[in-house]
Amino acid sequence: MDSKSVEAETLFKLVEQLYGGRLSEAELEEVKKGVERIVEASMELRAVELGNWDEPFSVFTPYRRQVK
């Protein structure tokens, strides 16, 4: 198995462990396809190189309650 398949299989097993009792076999098959799509997208993201300084495109603002 290639690394993508290994990752998808491992993550699916986690979902199955956590939620398998709630889902039918057919539903679990669909969840498996969903996990594969998520891993596929992750691989696309990881293929793009970024520098250490490339931050997430969102800003954290420290909070200070306004005192009147």
């Binding site: 709630r22 498996k32 969903g34 996990v35 998520i38 997208a41 931050e55 603002t61």
Partner: protein, 462 residues
């Protein structure tokens, strides 16, 4: 003047001149919502008592020459993910159908301040499509139809907002978009829908699907009306840290526009959609320079999809853990939330880091252009019983949707014709961040030269 299918601007003038009264208009549109809403599955709750109270207040104020602007005395409907004090706010989901809030969403509050009258909470796809629905029957109020055909879907997730405006049940409505939820119903129902820049409109009091992707915006009969409504609902809100302090004032700009058409804009589009789009380009070329552009190779969809998956998994964590998805309407929504519980933090953060690069790529590609133009959707409304992705199977990417939503860019969709079976097609104009006036100006000029927005479904004419 027949107020049904009159634009907000026309109704406003009629109210100010005394030709129409807010109370009579409210009674008229509530009557239409009550009569036609069930045929379309477009209405969740009528807010009649509140509406009549607000209408009487507006009427009294107008008589006393107190003017609150162009929405004063105009009835409207809100997608049922907007909190409205004391009225059920169901998020389209059966397990939450008794959910109520003790306050109004900021958008609802701002509309109240502008004198608009909330007449109904409108149908939506359960949890705004956040569970991964694949077909129209994904709301506890049933599948919502486009008024152009009872057997075709309204689009979603702002289903009732698009359908109710198209059927003349309300002069305008508020919808929301995370990825496609305003443009899709605008396309399928043949109305004008504006997705504003992210942060332009407060999300306070609206259901969260994805905190960094959710936008609220108007669905109206005209692009001009979208500008009027956006001005009323936009603005900084201390309750929503993402709102911009840049003030929005609607104004139409004139002059020669420069428009870019993505090279792959017509890939895998239905023939009718492609034909109508080409015809629209000939209209646009009369007042704009139209040139081909190309978005470079980049994982646009993977970026936006990963952000959406990770944030939706967190936003609905409790809902999912409690097993409430089993009570949803669409069978695929019963298992939809589970796969995304294993999006890795490193991938979510990588997507957030790549989002900045994506926004810069979009700015580069769009540099010198007022808007990017493309079909609003690849297809017309899909048949009710069908999975909508199977209507136009293929591998074409939704780059416009991924870039537009991922980078938080504004876009307006307006009707641009009909298919052979009489279903509407749409054209979208996507612009630079905070440049709503530019995309609206192009759309307003397009509508000035065409009559598609003045065509209405026979079955709903008054």
């Amino acid at each position: 003047m027949n107020p049904v299918f009159a634009s907000v601007r026309e109704l406003s003038q009629a109210i100010q001149s005394g030709e129409e009264s807010p109370v009579e208009l409210t009674e008229l549109f509530i009557g239409r919502l009550r009569e036609h809403g069930p045929k379309l599955n477009s209405v969740v709750t009528l807010t009649e008592k509140r509406a009549l109270r607000e209408a009487r207040k507006a009427q009294r104020e107008i008589r006393e020459e107190i003017h609150r602007g162009p929405l004063h005395g105009i009835p409207y409907g809100g997608k049922d993910l907007l909190a409205a004090r004391g009225t059920p706010t169901t998020w389209g989901a059966a397990p939450l159908k008794d959910l109520t809030f003790g306050y109004d969403a900021t958008a609802v509050r701002k509309l109240k301040r502008a004198g608009a009258i909330l007449c109904a909470k409108l149908a939506m796809i359960e949890l705004a499509g956040g569970m991964g629905y694949r077909q129209p029957n994904a709301s506890f109020t049933g599948p919502c139809a486009t008024p152009w055909s009872p057997s075709h879907w309204s689009g979603g997730s702002s289903s009732g907002s698009g359908s109710s405006v198209a059927a003349g049940l309300v002069p305008f409505a508020i919808g929301s978009e995370t990825w496609g939820s305003i443009l899709s119903p605008a396309n399928n129902c043949g109305v004008s829908g504006l997705r504003p820049t992210y942060g332009r409109v407060s999300r306070h009091g609206a259901m969260a699907l994805s905190w960094t992707l959710d936008k609220l915006g108007p669905l109206c009969l005209t692009a001009d009306d979208c500008g009027l409504v956006l001005e009323a609902i936009s603005g900084y809100d201390p309750e929503d840290a993402s709102t911009t302090r840049k003030r929005y004032r609607y104004s139409v700009e004139v002059g020669e526009f420069r428009l870019g058409v993505p090279k792959d804009a017509l890939d895998e589009t239905q023939e009718a959609v492609a034909d109508r789009f080409k015809a629209s380009l000939t209209v646009l070329e009369r007042f704009a320079t139209v040139e081909e552009i190309e978005f470079p190779s980049f994982p646009y969809e993977a970026v936006t999809r990963t952000i959406l998956n990770a944030e939706a998994a967190s936003a609905f964590d409790e809902f999912t853990e409690k097993g409430l998805a089993r009570g949803l309407t669409a069978p695929e929504d019963h298992y939809g939330p589970y796969a995304r519980t294993v999006v890795l933090a490193r991938d979510y953060l990588k997507a957030l880091r790549l989002r900045g690069r994506m926004a810069m790529i979009a700015e580069d590609v769009m540099a010198g252009y007022d808007a990017v133009v493309a079909p609003s959707r690849r297809t017309v409304a899909s048949p009710m019983g069908q999975e909508f992705r199977k209507v136009a199977p293929g591998t074409a990417k939704d780059v416009m949707g991924a870039v537009g939503n991922g980078a938080g860019l504004p876009a307006v969709s307006v009707p641009n014709g009909f298919s052979g079976e009489g279903l509407p097609t749409g054209i979208q104009f996507m612009g630079h961040a905070y440049d709503e006036n530019r995309v609206l100006s192009v759309a307003v000029e397009y509508q000035r030269r065409t009559g598609w927005h003045r065509m209405h479904p026979e079955a709903f004419k008054a």
